[in-house]
């Protein structure tokens, strides 16, 4: 097992190198001069040129690339052109907020999604099933921006129950988490429903029912447990994309996470920050995928890794 994990981690290195190279090239393909953007439109040309030298952008591209790779090997992501402080420090200060939001949204999505999926599977083809399926589709198709604003209008303005923006108080995470979570609820609900239905049609479930196992235990211990693998995959993918930063939600709720940081960095042509953030997302995705694959072993005893 340990060798399996080791091999996966080794395989991650060329992937990350590819991502680093791709983002290095793509950032520089964007039109616009970072030195001009950061110095501001009122700055003189001398100031802009001076800043360009300070940012190292006057160096030839291969030199910039090698500097970048060299820094990566030392785990140094460079200095943010926009903020002036180390990229790692900037990301480090925002990451906990994105993690909090992602986990809260995932909790909402998993709890509501799996419950909904289980209910829908048990009451297949009834009104309840149709309602849950409709709500699922609505959840996936509803624009986050609109949903977020509607929740603000309802809970912040109308009922004055929850804060509309910011991350100061513990309950600030509720509205953004619900907004973000409702996107994934539909996906997880439908995945749970279809996976569970497939399992509940199996012979061993019939045997369990015939044996007299309580309905709840049939669904959970026998049904869900065996249906978990595809659901876990879906959850893992959702977590990966949630950690990627929910730009729209963070913008609507003023949530200080990495999604907004990436958007702002692209708009201010902060190359080191953009590179650092994209690499971070790649690392997160790889880590989450590895975690999910390892969880398969726990959930399904038939899975063995050489």
């Amino acid at each position: 097992m340990l060798t399996y994990v080791g091999r996966r981690l080794l395989a991650a290195i060329p992937t990350l190198w590819g991502v680093a190279t791709a983002v290095f090239i793509m950032a520089r393909l964007l039109p616009g001069d970072p030195a001009r953007v950061i110095a501001g439109i009122n700055a003189s040309q001398d100031q802009v040129d001076h800043l360009r030298r300070q940012l190292g952008l006057d160096q030839p591209l291969p030199v910039q690339y090698l500097d970048f790779l060299g820094g990566l090997v030392r785990l140094d992501l460079g200095t943010s052109a926009h903020f002036g402080d180390p990229v790692l420090a900037e990301i480090g200060s925002r990451l906990p907020y994105t993690a909090e939001l992602a986990l809260a949204a995932l909790a909402v999505a998993v709890v509501l999604g799996m419950l909904g999926g289980v209910v829908a599977a048990q009451r297949r083809n009834t009104v309840v099933d149709v309602v849950i399926s409709t709500v699922s589709v609505l959840g996936i198709s509803m624009p986050t921006y609109w949903l977020g604003l509607m929740l603000i209008v309802l809970f912040a303005i109308q009922f004055r129950l929850l804060p509309a923006a910011g991350a100061d108080s513990p309950e600030s995470v509720v509205l953004p988490a619900v907004t973000l979570g409702l996107l994934s609820v539909g996906l997880i609900a439908r995945m749970t429903r279809s996976s569970l239905l497939e399992v509940l049609g199996q012979d061993y479930v019939r045997t369990a029912r015939a044996k007299g196992v309580s309905p709840a235990r049939v669904v959970v211990a026998h049904g869900l447990r065996n249906a978990l693998v595809p659901i876990l995959t879906a959850i893992g993918l959702q977590l990966g994309s949630l950690m990627g930063g929910a730009v729209v939600t963070e913008s609507v709720f003023g949530w200080p996470g990495v999604g907004r940081l990436l958007l702002d960095s692209i708009f201010s042509r902060d190359y080191p920050m953009v590179q650092g953030l994209v690499l971070l997302f790649a690392v997160t995705y790889i880590a989450v995928n590895l975690l999910v694959d390892l969880l398969y072993v726990v959930v399904d005893p038939r899975v063995r890794y050489a």
Binding site: P34, L115, V118, I152, R160, P163, S169, G254
Partner: protein
């Protein structure tokens, strides 16, 4: 328990959780004087006064760090950390008398040595100070005469309004010398400014907020609020929600289309503060591919074709005023031109015919979300031009960095016939306002993106830059403006207002016409 019972229990639990939240930030603000919450749209990139490039961030920094002069709410420079100033007879040196009895919030005394330390730092060519180059080029040295007096020895003379305007900028703010010692990293970048201002920096969460707390040793009038919190809320609709729900007492720049309903809402007040930002379509007057634009009659025709008042009413919801000069009225040196290009499509058509330009084709480009309703207004302008027979290609739009990469280019690289820009001079003097009509600042050297070059105007501008007599100066600028207006290098549009919305339970909210708010002396109504 059946699964749907769990679902029900969960919903109930959520409601209880929401209801049990602490109500410290929620609900009506009341008459408390502890905290004023202001929601702004940008996250401060830096709190170092020297590095400031964004007005809103500068606003916040100026509550902590003060400069020698201060721009008041009418745009005039008032004494601040300097109580008096004297220009020498030959205009080659300035002596500033410093306010006595002032200390920085860390206890260090404010004196001439502190002034020299700060100005030297800000004019140090190795430091990042995008707005410092004008003064750095004009000042030869900063000298301590005695603890209460500082002399600026000039390398070249500068008109009084120019020098005083510069010295009032946050970029030339005064921080405690202990906080900016040479040889320490803080000399290059100080993110925890220590100043002499009415407030001190309390805490900052990047991406979320900056909080300032009252400075107990401040030399001036004591502010009412113990603390002021500046929350970063990028979305306009969310900002509006904050002030409507009482979770913020003041917000900047609400959604413009909601201005009418906000003005009717009795729980909030709308302040359309005066601003110095002029909005215009700069035309490529050096356009080899469209020589018709080099004909002044054609450019004037395009000005007559635009129905500014209708656009201001329908698209900007009244939050602007038509331009009546190449600069905003709040700027020293402004004078109203005699012929403001009133909407006259017939005149436009006849001018175009006389210039043999009836088949004119021009391309337009505008940013989105950079200025008030910029994209929407650009489409209005395009339609007005089409109505007088001009073929308009576009308007196209780009994100901001790509936009300036496209329009702030030397004449040979220009690819669009007209581009929308909004220019807000940093200090309220015509010298900055006229920079964009100065051929020595044609890109890449500056922002004169219409490539306008009229030797008469240039001569007047250069004369006024060093003119010692204030009235003569104003007259020189007036002549320059009238000439530039007639030459019509731009399609002159409007002067934006700076909308601020605040709770009806608060009063004392002020503004400075360079897109700054002033909440230092806000108080409960």
């Amino acid at each position: 328990m059946r699964p749907h019972r769990w679902l029900g229990a969960l919903v109930v639990a959520c409601c209880l959780l929401a209801g049990c939240g602490s109500s410290a930030n929620i609900g009506p603000t009341g008459k408390q004087t502890r905290l004023l919450t202001v929601a702004v749209g940008v996250d401060p990139d830096t709190l170092d006064p020297m590095r400031q490039t964004t007005t809103t961030v500068t606003n916040i920094v100026q509550m902590v760090v003060e400069s020698l002069g201060r721009v008041d709410q009418t745009g005039k420079v008032q004494p601040n950390l300097a109580t008096a100033w004297q220009e020498s007879a030959d205009a080659m040196s300035w002596t500033f008398t410093l306010r006595t009895g002032v200390t920085f919030s860390d206890g260090a005394p404010f004196d001439a040595a502190a002034v020299k330390a700060n100005l030297d730092r800000e004019m140090d060519p190795n430091n990042v100070c995008p707005s410092c180059s004008t003064l750095a080029k004009a000042v030869k040295s900063v000298d301590v005469i005695d603890p209460g007096h500082v002399r600026l020895t000039m390398a070249m003379p500068l008109a009084a309004d120019v020098l005083l305007g510069l010295i009032s900028l946050a970029n030339f703010g005064m921080m405690s010398p202990r906080a900016i010692q040479k040889g320490t990293p803080q000399y290059a970048q100080q993110e925890q400014p220590v100043g002499t201002g009415p407030y001190m920096l309390k805490d900052r969460l990047k991406g979320d907020h900056v909080t300032v707390a009252r400075n107990p040793t401040y030399w001036g009038r004591r502010p009412v609020y113990d603390e002021q919190l500046f929350k970063t809320v990028p979305d306009t609709a969310t900002r509006e929600a904050l002030v409507r729900s009482g979770q913020a007492q003041m917000v900047l720049l609400p959604p413009i289309s909601d201005l009418p309903s906000l003005q009717k809402d009795p729980t909030v007040k709308v302040l359309l503060a005066a601003s110095d930002r002029t909005i215009y379509f700069a035309m490529d007057t050096a356009d080899k591919t469209q020589p018709l634009l080099q004909n002044v009659q054609v450019r004037q025709a395009l000005n007559y074709a635009v129905n500014r008042d209708a656009i201001i009413k329908s698209t900007l919801f009244g939050a602007a005023e038509s331009m009546t000069a190449p600069m905003a009225p709040s700027i020293f040196g402004y004078c109203q031109v005699p012929n403001p290009y009133k909407y006259d499509p017939d005149q436009a058509r006849s001018l175009l015919q006389r210039a043999n330009a009836s088949g004119l084709t021009i391309s337009l480009v505008a940013p989105t979300g950079r200025y008030m309703q910029d994209w929407q207004a650009a489409q209005n302008v395009a339609n007005d031009l089409r109505a007088v027979g001009v073929n308009v290609v576009g308007p196209r739009t780009l994100d901001w960095p790509s936009y300036i990469g496209t329009v702030v280019v030397p004449p040979v690289k220009a690819s669009v016939d007209a581009h929308l820009l909004g220019y807000a001079p940093q200090y309220l003097d015509a010298s900055t306002a006229m920079q964009i009509l100065d051929p020595s600042l044609i890109p890449p050297r500056g922002l004169a993106t219409a490539y306008y070059d009229n030797p008469t105007v240039t001569g007047l501008i250069q004369k006024a830059l060093v003119e010692p007599n204030r009235d003569a100066r104003a007259q020189e600028y007036c002549d320059a403006e009238k000439q530039a207006w007639n030459d019509a290098p731009w399609i002159f549009l409007w002067v934006q207002k700076f909308p601020i919305v605040y709770s009806a339970q608060v009063t004392g909210i002020g503004s400075v016409p360079n897109e700054s708010f002033y909440t230092v002396y806000a108080q409960p109504a």
